[in-house]
């Protein structure tokens, strides 16, 4: 991974590259950071992968031996991306060193804040959800064979939403001070399976609509099911957090390091006002991490368009500060995020997280 990074360092958003470089990108990423085309001998182009598509490395291994001519049109700023990946590699290494690792980890967190501020916070640079996904899948996505198969067989919209949500959760957790690599990785993997139990025949466009309504206004999902004469799906909806947790626990047994974290799947539909399900927890019942899960689930649209957000900026700000503007109960989390970005210092500094 390290060598490829240097080669790709000049690729900007919208640039097109060909030759060996394309192959290095293919094998570095798990979800496509742009469009891959095959140029046939007659000059015609065949699109192999669109932005956000899963890259089946085995298949491309075969293409590679067939000496195919490929071009890549980037949808992300690859060089910037690589710098971010560097930071996470450092974080991973910091977990393994002896001695004052917490200080090291916290200075890496400072680096991350510095790195992502223009994209996610102050709007100096444009950002897409695709960029977040490309980064976080490269850093964290390490499912074993069976769980990977399961995940890659989920309906595509659900996959993309889950990837976006996981990236948002991980990013926020690191921003407010969770610096343990394995902990973040567990959060990422678990975030992929929040709606796992809906992946069977239940997940349809209609159901996606229901989930979206539920996200915007807790309780509206059930009403929407009524309206669409899908009353029989009410329990599928109601019990999916618990069922997904159970199924994920079985599937991810060997993947998740912090086994106690499986519980977070159960609460992704809770709200801070006690209007959610299944437990109707409220603001006093949830700790900060759990509030982050709830905040991200609440603000991540059920149907994400990975590229549509191209013109958007300051993603974290947009989702978690603007998106929760009227939510007083989230003020603690909001203020933690704000204070983290506000107190970015030199590389070696510890960034204070101000409570309220």
């Amino acid at each position: 991974m390290m060598e490829e990074k240097k080669e790709n360092s000049t690729i900007q958003n919208g640039n097109e590259v060909s030759g060996e470089e394309v192959w290095s990108i293919i094998f570095a990423y798990k979800w496509s950071p742009g469009e891959f085309c095959w140029i046939k001998s007659n000059g015609n182009r065949v699109v192999l992968l669109r932005p956000g598509d899963y890259i089946d490395h085995e298949r491309f291994e075969k293409f590679r031996s067939g000496n195919m001519n490929l071009v890549f049109k980037s949808s992300v700023d690859i060089s910037y991306m690589e710098a971010g990946i560097n930071i996470f590699e450092e974080l991973q290494l910091a977990a393994e060193i002896k001695g004052d690792k917490e200080e090291k980890k916290n200075s890496i967190r400072n680096k991350y804040l510095k790195w992502c501020a223009p994209y996610l916070w102050n709007g100096d640079e444009k950002v897409t959800l695709l960029e977040m996904i490309s980064l976080f899948t490269r850093v964290f996505y390490k499912l074993d064979h069976s769980s990977h198969l399961t995940f890659s067989n989920l309906p595509i919209p659900l996959q993309q939403r889950s990837l976006s949500l996981s990236s948002m959760i991980c990013s926020t957790a690191l921003i407010v001070g969770h610096t343990d690599f394995r902990f973040l990785q567990d959060l990422f993997h678990l975030g992929l399976f929040f709606d796992y139990s809906l992946a069977d025949e239940s997940y349809s466009y209609l159901f996606e609509d229901v989930l979206e309504k539920e996200r915007i206004e807790p309780g509206a999902g059930e009403k929407a099911l009524d309206e669409q004469r899908m009353h029989h799906k009410t329990n599928v909806l109601k019990f999916h957090p618990e069922q997904s947790a159970l199924k994920a626990e079985e599937l991810l047994e060997g993947v998740i390091y912090n086994k106690n974290l499986f519980k977070i799947i159960e609460l992704h539909h809770e709200t801070l006002e006690g209007k959610g399900f299944p437990k109707s927890l409220n603001v006093n019942d949830l700790n900060d991490l759990e509030k982050i899960i709830v905040a991200c689930s609440k603000t991540m649209p059920q149907k994400v368009d990975l590229l549509k957000d191209n013109k958007e900026e300051k993603l974290i700000y947009k989702y978690l500060i603007e998106g929760l503007e009227n939510e007083i109960l989230f003020s603690r989390i909001k203020s933690q995020i704000v204070s983290s970005f506000n107190s970015i210092g030199d590389d070696e500094d510890y960034v204070e997280v101000v409570g309220l």
Binding site: E102, H178, E227, L246, E249, N284, Y350, G355
Partner: protein, 856 residues
Amino acid sequence: MSEDKKKIFVGDRELEDSLVELLVKLSVEYVSDGDGGDFEYHLHGDNAASKSISFSPVESLKTFLESKGRAIVNPGYANNDISKVLINRFFEGIGSLDPSSTIADFLDETYTLKITNPMNVGYYQDLIVENAVLKQFNFVAIRNYLNSVLTFLSYLKHSELGEVPFDVDYGFSDGTFYIQVSSRVQNLFLDNLIESIQDSDPNNPYYSALKMAFENVHFMDVFTLEKGSKLCFCAVWSKDIVQEEEFYPSLLVHELYTVAEVEEDHSLLSKINIVKKNLNDERVGYPGAGAVNFVDEQGHAKNNNAVLIKKIVHFLDNARFDNGEDLVTFTNEHYQKYISSYHDQDSLERLEQDDITLIIECLNDGKKAASLDEEVQVIKDNLEDDDYAERITGSLDDLAEEVQKISGSSEEGDDSQTITGSSEEDDYTQTISGGNESKSDVTKVKGGTVDNDDGGKFVVKGGSSGEKKKDVWKVKGMKAAGKIKEEVQRLKASGASVEEINMKVKSLVKDEFGEDEEGANMFFDNLSDMASDKAVAEQDIKKSSIFDNVQVDLDIELPDDENRVDSRKISMLENSVKMRDQQLKKMKKLMDRMKKEVDRERKATADIQDVGGTGVDGETMRGYIAQATELKSTVVNLEKAVTSANNILEQERKNKDTMARNFEREKDILLKKLEKYEGTPDDGPTESIAQIKKNNEALTRQVDELKKRISTVLDNTKKSQDEMVSASEYNRVKNELAENMTKLSDAYTERKKATDMSKSLAFKLRAAEQRIKSYSGKLEKAQNASKGAGDGMVDPKSAHRVKHLEKTNERLQALSKKVSDELAEKKAELHKTKMESKALESKVKELEKKLEKKAA
């Protein structure tokens, strides 16, 4: 509402002035009338049976907590703003992980930290301590405290009672430093905290972790949240506390319960996050003994032998009665004396010393016995429904056998007498076999592992001074057996639950017994005990503790150390199989819940009635019920409409079939006729062909018409089905109802607020009055004293005293004036609030009336 809870029963103790002042400041009412039975908190030392608060230092914190001490408040140092918030929360039984609204107001700066790895806490401690140094707080105390609390939480995590991350909030103002540490926890009892306040032991740092923490704070609050799944430590240091001789820290403990408390009151289980061990995390070996997982440990908090114990208690109770020893304290000697005649000696081997102690306690303490009964009931309630009916009928057969014996033995009064006379087993055997020589039979029927004392019971009873009545109940009960069996089988076929079966059996038994209620109950209890006991034995009794019934569990055992290397693979496989098995069980539970949920929804309209239980009066309730009934009948009508539409549809379909068949037949006939005509063209029956054509046309028309009719019916049916599905009318009414309910409940809340307010003022008033009383008493005393001094000789000593008293007098008078001014102010305020409350009340009434009208 909250103000109601802020009460302490002090009995006839006299309180110091400073304490009275503190309590008034904290708006805590102290009550001295009555026996204190209704009060949650007593003054420490008054009554060991209820929770207590101490306003003076305690000798041993461990003993204090063990004897239901829940708070130590140092009156001189509880005046801090944050401490006041914490004391308020203590009385209200609430807590919060979010210091933003209540506590942060009193702090200038606040920060948050996340600790994910309990092995790496030093860095974060240093960050906090750095601030303490800068702001000139006692940073050594703060460091010690943090170290101790984090050590404690790490041990909890190690024992899988706690989890990471630990959330740490800290903040400070000029005079106050505040730290809050919280973590997710499970299976946590107050006992776990008590474990950790023992004397320090370098080999077991866990034992003294919390003791160290407590010794280094000024004010500390420990509580759990969200059904016991979060544990939170709040600590306050105050700069104006100079470590004086008399200083001692304050401690509040709430929403935490001991195993003993839970055993006494099972409803407390809902306030503890019970989860059976399911984690298999990498572990670091912590020094010494860690926290005890009471849920996991065999036989500590749960009792595996509950059913057996209950039976033995019953047996011994009868035995001592028969020997006229039922009024003396039951001792271990009694136990040894009687237990040898218990019929199932094998089962006694299952008893542990704790169980025997419990048996003896139950025989001396009705409360304990009742608690045991409750536990057995919980076990029974959680039996699987599937085979219960079989067990009931099986138990009937067993009982029938015994009845035969009773009949046999009751004829031979002499035999019984002999039996009671001696407690030797041989005689006992003789008796039960007196009827049909079946000692071995008895054992066989009951099965080796299942203990059954019924044989024993009836013999002892039967023998006791000819008290045959107690046998008769069985004989009588058996008369109903046939009926019961039949009914149970029928119920089983219809899928009835354990509860339903039990209810039916009970009513059948009652029918048979008539007036003899005692007999009926005895028979029924005996029958259901037998049936449940069998079930429990089959289910493996170990699984049926009160804790198991709360939550399903994942139970993965680690392989033994010696075998670990060799059999790692196998055990991993085993584990995964076990895991899957448990997962399936969990799934099943979840499915069951879903099933219940569906049932619940089906009963949704009926449930509307329950909503009224939360403080709506009878009339409004009736309104809701009327509305619910109306809705129900709407649904029924819609259902009827659908059914009838379906019937019509079915009929039309049949008609259509018949028509079609007839049409075909007619067509055949006509065609045949046509053939005939065609065969004889000379006859030239052109008219007939025209006729046929005409006929055909008519038939076609007929078919068309039918088709139309069918489609109309289909449309209608669909429509009514649509109505049924969307139930738009129903939804509309339901929404309207919900809307009204919300309005009403809003109004109620408003009123409640106002009432609470006036209550709180009234209480403050009372407190002020109390204060006046206390001061005027002193005033009087002082005046009397000064009078007395004036009468006698004037020596310098008494002159000085008079002066002193006069001064005190003045001070007291000033105080009493201040208080009575306050009183007047409060009274005015109260009046105002009362008026407001009245206005709201009338508003509520108006709304209720509106609702009633709607319902009508």
